[in-house]
Amino acid sequence: MGLILSWDRGTVLLEGDIPSELKRLSFLKFDSRVGKYRALAIYYPRILSVALATASSVEDRVWSPQCKEVKAASEVKLRSYQEQALAAWMKTKKGVVVMPTGAGKTHVAIAAIAKLGEPALVVVPTVELVEQWRAKLAQHFPGRVGVWYGEEKRESCITVITYDSAYVAIEQLGNRFKLLVFDEVHHLPSPSYRQIAELSPAPHRLGLTATPERSDGLHVDLDWLVGPVVYRISASEIRGVWTADYEVEVVKVQLTEEERALYKELEKKYLSYIRGRGLRFRSPSDFQKLVVMSGRDPRAREALEAWHGMRRLIFETRAKVEAVGDILARHRGSKILIFTEYTSLARAVSERYLIPLVTHDISGHEREQIMAAFRRGELKALVTGKVLDEGVDVPDVDVVVILGGTSSARQFIQRMGRALRLKPHKAKIYEVITASTREVNTAKRRKKGVA
């Protein structure tokens, strides 16, 4: 009996005559439960190449492909830099393409799927993006696109799936797709999502993002989970040519008297603890220390609660709801997209001005209809928490209103990006900030490095 490779729920099993060269591989372990050698599926390409070079015969039973081949019904037209990105990726068929928001990363992926001709699993962060990818893929591969999330699980030759669903389903779906596409690939290195990459045998992997870097440093793992960055183009290299110009206006609002008194009190409580302990926060991981301390120290817990209270006041003050009214009045007829930090503020804005709401507590069915009507122009404004931060195409947005957000430059760039699709006139971005609070600094930090 030669060497037999088979698939077992995210791993590869080896039985039969196993050459010593294979047994020496550190990632291959003998599993006494089944009496066979086992490895994470991500090592499959390496196992196979060593096996083919050393074993007398190899029987590869790993694959159970979703379909034989994928063919595009229509040609995928690429811009010159997209063409370059595709060519760079095709050299190894493994790696990350870095392009700014609005530069058409999706097209690069569609062209890659068409060129490779293998069944593909496309992993995306949100339900909105599933819909968007499905629609775009269906133009080129009619009848061959399935989606897999929540209630709807229809697998097809090309299947679009959320990171959350893929984390669970990779054990079932892993050996059906030879190409993995990760949209917004900077999500992948997190401790759970990375298992999607580790438990898949797919030899071909494409990652897409505008900003691969993560504040926790885990982006270095993208190299082995997906592949190295094979192509990178910055916003400044494309801006003006392909995306619109923009203008940022800061709108300052005041806390009400009552809110201000409460804010001061919370701030005092928070600062006295932080200063008393000599704590300094230079990065999100420093802040994590306070979170950990709060598990033991009731005073740390109080300080943390105060900090949350301050944030809530800043992000939810009635004054912000009022400010939206002014902006709406100023831009009647424009397409407006409003972002908040907390769902509760998004809901308050929605109820007050009867603006559709896209947040997690609204049903998928309603969200889908809202997005479609917004694209068609039947709805002129939309308010959302974080679900639209990334990648979702909302064409022709003229005005972006940021009512609250973190100090992350990535979030800011992504939210701005919603208004930066090609259009003849300047886009307008409003940042509504609560005066004389921490938010002033937060807003400064997120704009640092965004020229």
């Binding site: 994470l40 507590d361 049903s363 809202i370």
Partner: protein, 376 residues
Amino acid sequence: MIPLDYLRVTRRGKEIKPAYLSDVSAAAEVLEAARGAKTLGDFRKAVEALRGDRKLLGGLARLVEQLMEVEEVDSRLVARVRLEVFKASSAAGFPLTPEEREKIFEAAAAKLRMGAAEVKRLFMKAYEENRAVLKPPGVDPAELVRRYNLALIQTLLFKSLYVKATLPNAPVVVKSLVRAVKGLRLMYIAEERSGDLEFHFDGPASALRQIERYGVRLAKLVPYITAAGRWSIEAAVKLNEKIYTFRESNATAPDMPKNPTEAEEFDSSVEQEFYRQVSRVCPVQREPEVLVVGGRVYIPDFKIGDLYIEIVGFWTPDYLRRKYEKIAKVGKPLLVLVNEELAMATWRQLLPNVVVFKGRPRLEDVFKHVKPYCRQ
């Protein structure tokens, strides 16, 4: 099960245990809040107003929400109504005053041919907390406490790397447990130890690294284990990058909810018919004890004397060989009955202990195999 955010534990060195609840007063208060609530939002607010451990109250509230009957909402209708309101609002350039807002609802109502009040009511039903509580949970505080303690064990196991369990060799319990393991795509190794069965549960990738991936699924096994009446559990739990051991048994744990697994009498009419026929000539034991061979569990359907009998559904010769070779090797007498029509491949020769039947097994097909074991 309740979310990890509500987990309460006590640690002692490397040991970890849920902080079980023994006092019923908190459970009684949360149940009382549910009884007084008209909507889910009312209930949540009432719980928020209670004094006490937030994690405890939050966990109890989760369980209570799962147990109460909440108004079902036609989410398609709600979406249609809301979309009409939003469109009217967009067309009018968004209302800035309460009067303008009122007019939007009227415009949408006219379009939908509904009353404005009904439109407003449905508009707000998109939010979960506006849904009516139709019936509070039908459990008393003591039962809620039992369910809460079970849920705490399960939630602790969300972060488990593996789970071990010891149970008596009782076929009804083992059968549903092993079935759950397969359904959850987990793995097990079984061992027989002084009449009891010892199980080790984890997943495929557990052999390669410490992985929490299977924790949520391992947690789902707990009710199958505690259903045994006499049981013990051991697990490795990874919390905040530290690995703890969790040990519990029916002797040390608080009361668990009574959820007797239904004794499945027969899997199919074929088995029922077989039992009816054979039991006329020979004493037949149904659901005999489980066989453990090479770490695997076999659950025969019947036993006659020392002879185990299993009736198999769909089969191939390969499947039968793989499944029964080991049992044959360790010398346990086993008779396998297979339906000719359910063969998934052609065959020429089968193991000598396999009897092929058509339609349903008849006494004359099996009598010569059964007779030597039959002790009237």
